[in-house]
Amino acid sequence: MIACTRHDSVSFVITALALLPLAVLVNIALETDQVFYVGHYDIFLNTFLVAIFTSFISVCVGVPIAIVLTLIEIPLRKFWLVTLLTPLAIPSYIGAFALYAAFGSGGELDAFLPFTPPSITGLAGTVSVLSLYTYPFVVLTTRASLLRIDQNQLHASRTLGLGLLVSLWKIVIPRIKNGIAGGALLAGLYAISDFGTPAILGVNTYTRAIYVEYNAFGLSQAAGLSLQLILLVGILLLFEAQAKVPQTPPGKMILIKPTAMQKIGFFSLTLPVILLSIILPIFIFSLWLMREGIAGFEFFNVVNAVSVSLVAASISVLLAIPMAVSALSGKAGKFMERITYLGFGIPGIVMGTALVYVGLQLPYLYQTFTLLIFAYVLRFIPLGITSVRNSLESMDNSLASAARTLGAGPAEIFRRVTLPQVSRGITAGAALVFLETMRELPATLLLGPTGFDTLATYLWRVYEAGYFGRAAIPGLLLIFTSIIVLLIMLYTEDIVEGSN
């Protein structure tokens, strides 16, 4: 129990820190009494619909991909996996903008296709774009769950005569609900806090209202509206809790050998996703790049982006482990874990401003890397916790007991028994935080050292200067560096797993 208390205290400190910017927002919001206005109901409904549909479509896209990439033997599995995760590194406003420019009458694709593609706007457009840039949340959390289920049951069901799809539906899906729910929650939270997409595609959501307020110097109003979003975050957290199922003990990993038809089925499933979320934006930007011509690009932006993202990812998962342990060991821990999610639903620019206030309390740290990393960790720790918690839930506790009986101390048990079992969850969490940090913008702009540029800030600069073509190079670099770093992470995971 001593270990538990220690975890709880770490958890308590992190939760308290996560509440700081929220307290600042409450303080700022209290400066105005004008928080509700006519039309609020529409905004709430629109935001709710965007969140729910984005979660739903992310699940529809992400779960099959996770199943195929985890259970089915296909060539270049790891490569496919990391490629399909890279949309998470691309800022969704860039994706939204490229898709908006590509589709519709007079769009860029109109000239290449024999027919006029439908235009991407409105609620349907927003949900489509956001789903394309959030489904990797579901892929990663589902994969972490899938790796821990006992696939002998799937094997048994197939031996007893059920087809592959029916077996997956009846045997596998019910056992990975926690992972799916975790990913859906993250997708939903991302959707309600995304700034650019609804604005570009013309849906009146909270973020759009917040954007108008913020730009009109109504910081109090923007903060007040952001806090209302917490209500939506609460609803999403409730949905996630509803979807939870008790975990079955983990078991053997079996790969299914697909038939040729099933392989074709897989490609037809992933191809549109890869096309729309990765290839199309890059194609559109390359088209513009050719029109505008190549201009200078500073390659140290890549080093900057990768190094801060790696540090943020490492610290986030390190802190996520005690939080996840604490969340599973008692009500207080669970409550604290839920609290950390609240900040993830608040639009980045509002959160960034709140963090400026927090950072200014520590003048020595203000506008330093330390504070920037701190901000990343606070913002993205829920991503780490979700992944680690899901893999901890399905951990086989009898192994730890056996180790204790055999004389291992707590440290040794953690290192040799627990850690290898949760390594998949840790990798998933680290990957999520890494990718999110790669595309993070407002905190980097407001809290980083003056003159510090990452790929995301460079992308934003060229985008808002109207040099859209120049987004092609940083866009490609975001994708390639993400692939490389994620591949390294996956191989590390193998090494940890192998030492088990």
């Binding site: 004008q34 206005y37 006519v38 039309g39 406003y93 903008f97 908006y100 420019a101 769009g107 860029e108 700034f195 650019g196 604005a199 570009i200 013309g202 759009r208 209202a209 108008v212 307020e213 913020y214 730009n215 009109a216 110097f217 109504g218 910081l219 513009w288 029109r291 505008e292 620019i349 960034g352 401003t353 400026v356 206030y357 200014l360 309390q361 003048p363 203000y366 506008q367 407002p442 702009l445 407001l446 003056t450 003159g451 800030t457 934003w460 600069r461 060229v462 808002e464 200067a465 109207g466 040099y467 859209f468 073509g469």
Partner: protein
């Protein structure tokens, strides 16, 4: 972050290198007298070299061509170390205010794309007074004590020249809703909100509310003002409300575009708003840095490349815009435009936002 539509990419603005412009000019003797010159532009050659270190908060939005201007200035002054923090204008204004509340100073200069942000920072008493030998270079209507307008943009009525003619358009913005024209607008766009704020200040809230109500009945809504101009050009609507440069940029990429500009007379409809810079540090280099922004070279660059209106005398207006002398903008203190709150409330009450 400014919302832009894909069509912006169709206007491939000719972007000459300002660095070349600034560096190519040979070193000329210093002028005998900088003080006392009024309303005329000086050349960069007449300016003292910049030395030391300054931190500039660059609030971004339109254009992004300021970046080229800054590059050219630092290239020209090797002993000058300019640290730049970039961010959305409103976010940087908020950060500066938060810093000052915490008693921390990080920004020496704040260059913002709109006067609202300048007004907000100045209201907190953070902007230092500027010497008159600096502000004197500007045309008199742009003289402010504690901030320096850099380049301007005028509110216009872009109209489809195949569907209507200029003389059909009222020269009084308040009469426009009573016409039968189909109107396009972008009420969520910050410049539009500044224009309504000016209308509120000039005509009063009741008249503005009436105006908004009438326009709202018949107008078609677009995401940004580039969208409005494009809709006018395509003939989706007869006319719209937009900053001047959208039309000029469209026409520079597509000279036969079926859109021209109409101007109202002495009311909010032809408000000239500006970008501006202020200093928070008592420093000679900061003042001299600001002098560079009013030079002939920088002002002509912003006019030809960004289609912004030069604010010092003797510089040609952007191509396609009539001489700025013939415009009759309303007399208004631009920093008052920071008072956006009642405007948003009004627009929300009418369910426009």
């Amino acid at each position: 972050m400014k919302l832009t539509t894909p069509a912006e990419t169709f206007f491939r603005m000719r972007r000459r290198s300002l660095s070349q412009l600034l560096i190519a000019s040979a070193v000329a003797p210093l002028p005998t007298c900088l003080i006392g010159q009024t309303q005329t532009s000086v050349s960069v050659n007449a300016l003292p070299p910049l030395e030391g270190e300054l931190t500039l908060y660059l609030g971004r939005g339109e254009g992004g061509l300021y970046e080229n201007v800054l590059q050219a200035i630092t290239d020209r002054n090797p002993d000058f170390d300019l640290k730049i923090r970039r961010g959305p204008t409103a976010a940087l204004a908020n950060a500066i205010i938060a810093e000052s509340k915490a008693g921390i100073t990080r920004a020496d200069l704040f260059w913002a794309v709109d006067t609202g942000a300048i007004g907000l920072v100045a209201e907190q008493g953070l902007a230092l007074n500027l010497p008159t030998n600096l502000t004197n270079h500007l045309k008199p209507e742009f003289h402010y004590d504690n901030w320096l307008p850099i380049s301007g943009r005028v509110r216009t009525i872009p109209y489809n020249n195949q569907r209507i003619s200029a003389d059909q358009i009222p020269t009084d913005i308040m009469k426009l809703p009573d016409t039968n024209f189909q109107i396009g607008w972008a009420p969520e766009y910050a410049s539009f909100q500044s224009f309504i704020t000016a209308m509120r200040i000039i005509e009063g809230t009741a008249a503005t509310k009436d105006w908004l109500m009438k326009v709202n009945h018949k107008a078609k809504k677009y995401a940004g003002e580039l969208g409005v101009v494009m809709a006018v050009e395509r003939g989706e609507v007869d006319l719209g409300f937009a900053n001047h440069y959208y039309t000029l940029r469209l026409k520079s990429g597509k000279p036969k575009a079926q859109v021209d500009l109409a101007f109202t007379n002495g009311d909010a409809g032809c408000l000239i708003n500006t970008s501006g810079i202020l200093t928070m540090k008592e420093d000679e280099t900061a003042i001299n840095f600001m002098r560079y922004l009013l030079t002939k070279e920088v002002q002509s660059y912003l006019s030809t490349e960004a289609f912004e209106i030069p604010l010092v005398g003797g510089i040609a207006p952007p191509e396609g815009l009539q001489n700025t002398e013939s415009l009759s903008p309303p007399e208004i203190d631009l920093t008052q435009l920071a008072d956006l709150r009642p405007t948003l409330d009004l627009m929300r009450e009418l369910r426009i936002l």
